[in-house]
């Protein structure tokens, strides 16, 4: 099993996540797609770690997981806050911050 297979799979998963962000409008699904992209990055990191026989990539992957957990916590907090204020949960309508 060549490691390039893993990298191509990682690219495919990343492209799927990007497509989801472009396609869907619910902020929760967009957060899920961000998870997809972060995990694709993790897969590439681990594939490169295996390719080099080096464990530094594992530490990077764990740090990425920490960052993803933080992003989820803050993102879900924002969604719950928006829901409580009865704002529309639709990224096309939540655009007051757009420049």
């Amino acid at each position: 099993m060549d490691l390039s297979w893993y990298l191509v799979l990682s690219g495919l998963l990343f492209a799927t996540g990007v497509t989801g962000v472009l396609l869907r409008r619910s902020p929760l699904v967009i957060l899920l797609c961000l998870e997809l992209m972060l995990n694709a990055g993790n897969l590439a990191l681990l594939a490169f770690a295996r390719a080099n026989g080096d464990q530094d990539g594992h530490v990077f992957a764990i740090v990425v997981m920490v960052v993803a957990a933080c992003e989820v916590v803050v993102g879900l907090g924002l969604i719950v806050a928006a829901y409580r204020r009865k704002l529309p949960l639709n990224v096309d309508e939540l655009r007051r911050l757009r420049g």
Binding site: D2, L7, R50, M65, V73, L78, V80, L87, N90
Partner: protein, 182 residues
């Protein structure tokens, strides 16, 4: 054997990812992401990243996904409107995704790295084990480790502030909240 494990994991991960963006029901999307994450943990095991695979299952498929399920149940279904603010977004977005994948594929295949054309070097026993990762985290990557814990603390405090703002905004009244119904 490795091929079977790779393709099983790849099919699970890719199917889960496509189901996340394809399913209309929010709850099903979250469940599809769990399938995706568990399949990815299997792929991590094939790559001999045992600790990361375990962390993936425990942290992601366990804790983070429980949070998602909770919020999905709290918020409920989000009805996406049928009108499209950007014309033909439904067709252009997959095309852009395919274009991005082509670009990444060309970059990977054309990179000419020798190590990715092989299965990687033979590694000694204990590669990717908790002991090795722990030693790296506490010696070489200590600053990153501390920064990550600080980031987690900030995120936890931020989440509490975001979620609890309503009550003291109503009590103090200093901040105008648009939907102050409760």
């Amino acid at each position: 054997m490795k091929e079977v494990a790779f393709f099983a994991g790849a099919i699970g991960a890719l199917g889960g990812a496509i189901a996340v963006i394809g399913l209309r029901n929010l709850f099903y999307s979250v469940l599809a992401l769990i399938v995706h994450l568990v399949s990815l943990a299997g792929l991590f095991l094939v790559l001999q990243a045992e600790f990361v695979a375990a962390a993936q299952v425990v942290v992601y498929a366990g804790a983070v996904m429980v949070l998602y399920v909770f919020v999905a149940a709290y918020v409920g279904g989000v009805d996406e409107p049928l009108w499209e603010p950007i014309p033909a977004q439904r067709f252009v977005a997959p095309l852009l995704g395919i274009a991005l994948f082509t670009e990444i594929g060309i970059a990977v295949v054309g990179s000419g790295l020798e190590s990715i054309e092989s299965e990687g070097p033979t590694v000694e026993l204990g590669f990717g084990s908790p002991a090795e990762i722990g030693r790296l985290l506490l010696e070489r990557f200590l600053i990153a480790f501390e920064a990550a814990s600080l980031l987690l603390l900030v995120a936890a405090v931020g989440a509490v502030v975001l979620a609890a703002r309503k009550r003291d905004a109503g009590a103090g009244g200093g901040e105008a909240s648009p939907g102050g119904a409760r």
